[in-house]
Symmetry: C2
Subunit: 348 residues, 2 copies
């Protein structure tokens, strides 16, 4: 059973995998790339993954068989385990609890060679729809305080398999970063009686220098104080505290907006490794006037070194006004043409 | 002038280098390794660095000439600049100030091929002594709230030059990570009327499973809730809130303790890239009963991915009890012999 341990000084929780403890020698091995023929996420290899929890598939096809366009299953090497109780307990002056949670993988496409930028709008919409379906299901489990959806693209960003996928981890505690955002947004609300994110949307639309693209219901910006070069946020323009508040139509608009944003980053930075994270309000709460869901996209371009780890400050060599201008200037039309002239992805 | 910008939601400050904005193309270039003959940190190349602030050198030798055993100078590419005033100001709903601070480099040895593990105890002591001298000098500047000493070893840990060096950044604000530690330690003090770090020392000495080595006045442990595999802390065993409280004798003991700790990590993990950071109390304050200075050493063995960036949680695949046992079992005698049989470093 993995353990959740609490740093007694800062209160930060850490997940310790007690079962598959990595020996020192195992850190030196180079990670392997998986060829399409060997990929456990490709159609025909369904037996290499745990049984599916959710799939969008052609009618008449069987679960855990080919015929799917999107597939969700438990992570084969979960960071947290679904069975058991939290069992909070002291260890001398310390605190720990069982590593209870859900860790799922969303395979975004049957096509091994396809990333989100290459997919059809409908396929991308299905990915964002699947996030929602899984969140709605998991939030019925009262042990979970938060569901974090994220994506690692590229080896340097932590992706161990290149086949396009996202992940979801449900945790028994609200993660520190989200808790900090909520606390900060609450302070602003108490002072101004306005949502800080709504104010950011307003300020960025007026100023314009950090806007990457305006997608109708969503806005893509480079934040005023980005930790990383080309850090990009995508927010709903009108107030929504939870990802689950989106209308069906908005999910399609979101899909197009994210796809266009990732296309700009791909074109500007030559398919950079990146992470994106969905920040939404904790589960099982009333809608929050002071919190506002959003995506944070961070290309992996620089190294995090001693100063950052020691201070929590980040040194960013690229002003967001410059990177936003650069991304705005990308000609997505030309990009679409380039995409169109590529061989079509094989549809399962 | 670099800018300090504040994230309006979490209050996190970021240093934006507005002058040397990196263009997208510049992120794809591979970093260059510098051969010994070309290294700006080697004796004879003093003209390739800014003029020295401090040096330990043979009597009769001139500043900025060979003859030194340790040399401190401003970073040629500083993250923060020493001249000017903070000039805090609003930018719409946002906050910024000038990027005022000091950014210095401590060249630890004239020998290009030497790292801290290879150096003589006296040479390592001089490094820790130099930190102290620079901190004492810089804390007289009332603009600075904190002085962070850190070291990046190896390219993957952010070292751009391989010649052994540490860095120091003086900042006009207490860094977030340190502020969090101080706040957490204060909460504990308010509740228990004891220093949390002193309690950790006590608990670890009693328990023993996470102790790497007991060095008289200092203790090397793997913390109970480490963010990273083989994360290692080194603390004074009796209460000291500031690094500057150490006696002259203790500096020598510290040098031997750090050297032995780094030797264990080098032996266990085959010279891993690592960062170390010195956490001490903010400058110009009374001694704090609730804070306790320490070093944090983090080998760079795993990738930080979307879950970590999105949650602030870390997933650590190695229980600290296992890594501590592994490090304890390293035969340092054998290592010393191996070191001794190496060709001696050239002394300038």
């Amino acid at each position: 059973m993995p353990e959740l341990r609490k740093d007694p000084i800062t209160g930060r929780w850490v997940i310790i995998s007690t079962e598959r403890g990595k020996r020192p020698s195992s850190f030196t091995s180079v990670s392997k790339r998986t060829a399409a023929g060997m990929c456990p996420f490709c159609p025909g290899h369904e037996e290499n993954t745990p049984p599916e929890i959710l799939a969008y598939r052609e009618s008449g096809t069987e679960p855990n068989q080919p015929g799917w366009s999107l597939r969700v299953m438990p992570n084969k090497y979960p960071a947290l385990k679904i069975e058991g109780s939290l069992d909070r307990q002291p260890v001398g002056i310390y605190d720990k609890m069982n590593g209870i949670g859900a860790h799922e993988v969303i395979i975004e496409t049957p096509d091994h060679a396809c990333d989100m930028v290459d997919m059809s709008d409908e396929q991308v919409r299905d990915v964002f729809w699947a996030y929602r379906e899984r969140m709605l299901d998991l939030q019925r489990d009262r042990r979970f305080a938060y569901i974090l959806v994220f994506k690692n693209h590229g080896e340097a960003a932590g992706a161990s398999l290149e086949h396009a996928h996202s992940q979801l981890i449900a945790t028994p505690i609200v993660p520190k970063r989200v808790a900090e955002e909520i606390a900060g947004a609450k302070r602003y609300w108490d002072f101004k009686e306005r949502c800080i994110f709504c104010d950011i949307v307003r300020q960025e639309l007026t100023d314009g220098s950090r806007v990457v693209a305006d997608h109708d219901a969503f806005l893509t910006i480079q934040p005023f104080a980005p930790r990383f070069p080309f850090e990009t946020w995508l927010l709903p323009k009108t107030h929504q505290s939870s990802y689950l508040e989106m209308s069906d139509t908005e999910v399609m608009v979101l899909a197009r907006a994210i796809k266009a944003t990732l296309a700009r980053l791909k074109a500007a930075l030559n398919d950079p490794p990146f992470n994106y994270m969905l920040h939404t309000q904790p589960v099982s709460r009333e809608s929050m006037d002071h919190y506002h869901w959003h995506f944070e996209i961070i290309p992996k371009l620089t190294r995090v070194a001693g100063f950052e780890w020691g201070s929590g400050f980040h040194i960013n060599p690229t002003p967001p006004e410059e990177s936003a201008a650069y991304l705005r200037d990308i000609d997505l039309e030309q990009w679409s043409h380039r995409q169109d002239s590529k061989p079509a992805g094989k549809e399962a």
